[in-house]
Each structure stands twice: as structure tokens, then as C-alpha cells.
Point group: C2
């Protein structure tokens, strides 16, 4: 299927999906957040063909989600690191993780759990809130056209 380009859409969700909506991109971001830096380690973690992984990483560098730099250990390896823009995807991944945990696992089924190192506990469940800090649901929301500041 030809993917329609939505990078000129006025909807930030559509633009985001245009940039990171490829199925592998968020898994690469997930792995990078867990400390993976090298091509071969991404490949091992994701089980992805070299050419596909290479194309995805290249696009992520072009999009400014990752940077590529020589490894600091004097070898000829390149290392991939998340930029500020890439690291800012953390709330998206945590929200997705919490949704998956709630709806896609059977009771007792083993799953990977993201914890807060300090407390050893799971994170707070992400909720949508107004500026007063109170939770908002779908019925509370509306859409307006604004200008970016």
C-alpha cells in the first residue's frame, strides 16, 4: 500500500505518525532507551534484516530522532544515540506499554515491566489531565485550530 504523506497535516498526531509511525521505529527507540547503541545489537534485539534496519536508522537520523557518531572506544564502530527529540518519545512509549500491559496479557503471563530504579516500583499510570491536574476523558476534549508558538 502506498503510504499517504501526512507531514503537511495540521494534526500533530498525523505528523507524528508520518515520522515515527513505522512499526519498527518505536521498537528501535525502545531499545535505544534501554542502552543499545550499535547496529549489531539492534539487529540481535529486533531480529530485523540488515537492509531494513539500516534504512530505518538512516531515516531516524535524517528525521533528527537519532544521531550517529564513531564509538568512543577507538574501534571503527558507529554508535546511534537518541537526540532530545528521540528521548522526548518516552511518554509515548510508556503510554503504549501501559496500554499493552492492561489489555494484551493474560493473567499470570510473564511480561517485561518498566520500573523506577529508585523505588523498584512500577511507574504511575499515565493519564490525560487538564492544567488543574484533574483527569480528563474523551468527552471533555475539543479541537481548535491554533498557531504554533
Amino acid at each position: 500500500m502506498q503510504r499517504r504523506c501526512l507531514d503537511d497535516s495540521s494534526c500533530p498526531v498525523a505528523r507524528s505518525l508520518d515520522s515515527i509511525g513505522d512499526w519498527w521505529t518505536l521498537l528501535i527507540v525502545r531499545d535505544a532507551m534501554l542502552g543499545i547503541r550499535r547496529f549489531s545489537d539492534f539487529q540481535r534485539s529486533l531480529g530485523l534484516a540488515r537492509n531494513v534496519l539500516s534504512a530505518r536508522l538512516k531515516k531516524m537520523v535524517v528525521d533528527g530522532v537519532m544521531t550517529m557518531a564513531p564509538a568512543g572506544d577507538g574501534t571503527s564502530y558507529q554508535e546511534y544515540q537518541l537526540t532530545e527529540k528521540g528521548e522526548a518519545l518516552l511518554p509515548v512509549l510508556v503510554a503504549m506499554r501501559q496500554w499493552g500491559k492492561r489489555f494484551l496479557f493474560a493473567p499470570g503471563e510473564p511480561r517485561q515491566e518498566l520500573i523506577d530504579r529508585r523505588s523498584g516500583k512500577a511507574l504511575e499510570t499515565i493519564r490525560v489531565r487538564g492544567v488543574d491536574g484533574r483527569e480528563r476523558g474523551i468527552a471533555d476534549l475539543g479541537l481548535v485550530t491554533a498557531s504554533s508558538s
Copy 2:
């Protein structure tokens, strides 16, 4: 590219992407949250071919993200509605929207903004927090294997 099936992965992010990682699915969820119910209205909003939209909606019903029921107005139309599982994607969409707003728009560029109807203001920025309510960054997080409760 053959998509690798990750619905048996122990990582909730991978399972979530297996279910909702198709690029169109989250745009359909977005439209449904904004009140769209009918096939022809989804089609108009998304500019998507009938067969593609039909396949996506069918998968979303199978996955339990949407339900399909006869329209309440006595016509032969079918209406699609988000289930609890589908509505629970709100934090994922809002986090994605806020990321897109921050990184993918030039200053002054018009964009759609989700507001809280009550206050007319934008929503609170979604952050990852520990159970103590304080923000956590990538370096604060760790991964463990747990059992679903």
C-alpha cells in the same frame, strides 16, 4: 516487507505495536474519539481507499478496539464505536500529539490543538512519573520480568 508477528513478545510495547502499530489504526482511533461513527465519514476524513479502510476497521473489531452496530436512526448504516480498550488509547494519542506539536511544527504554523472544553486551555503536558508523582527520565528506569496480575 513481511511484518514479524510480535503478539507473543513479553514486551508490552511490542504487543501494542502488533495490535495498533499500523499507521492508519491510530488515525481511525483519533477520528472515532472526535465523534466519527460511519464508514463514509472515516473515509472522507482519512482519504483512504474503501478496501483498505474496510480491512482496518474489521481488524480493529476483531482486536476488540472497536465495535460495530446498526445506527440508531433506523437507516441501514452501521456505526463504529470505540470499546473501553479503544478509548484507553487516549493517553497514547495525547502523548503523540504533544510530541508532534513540540517537534514537527514551525513557529506560527497553524495546527489543530486539543483543548479541555471546560477551561478552553490546552491539556497538561504528559510526563512519566514515579508513584510519588515526581517526573522520571530514561536514566531512572529499569526493566524487570514480571507476571501479569
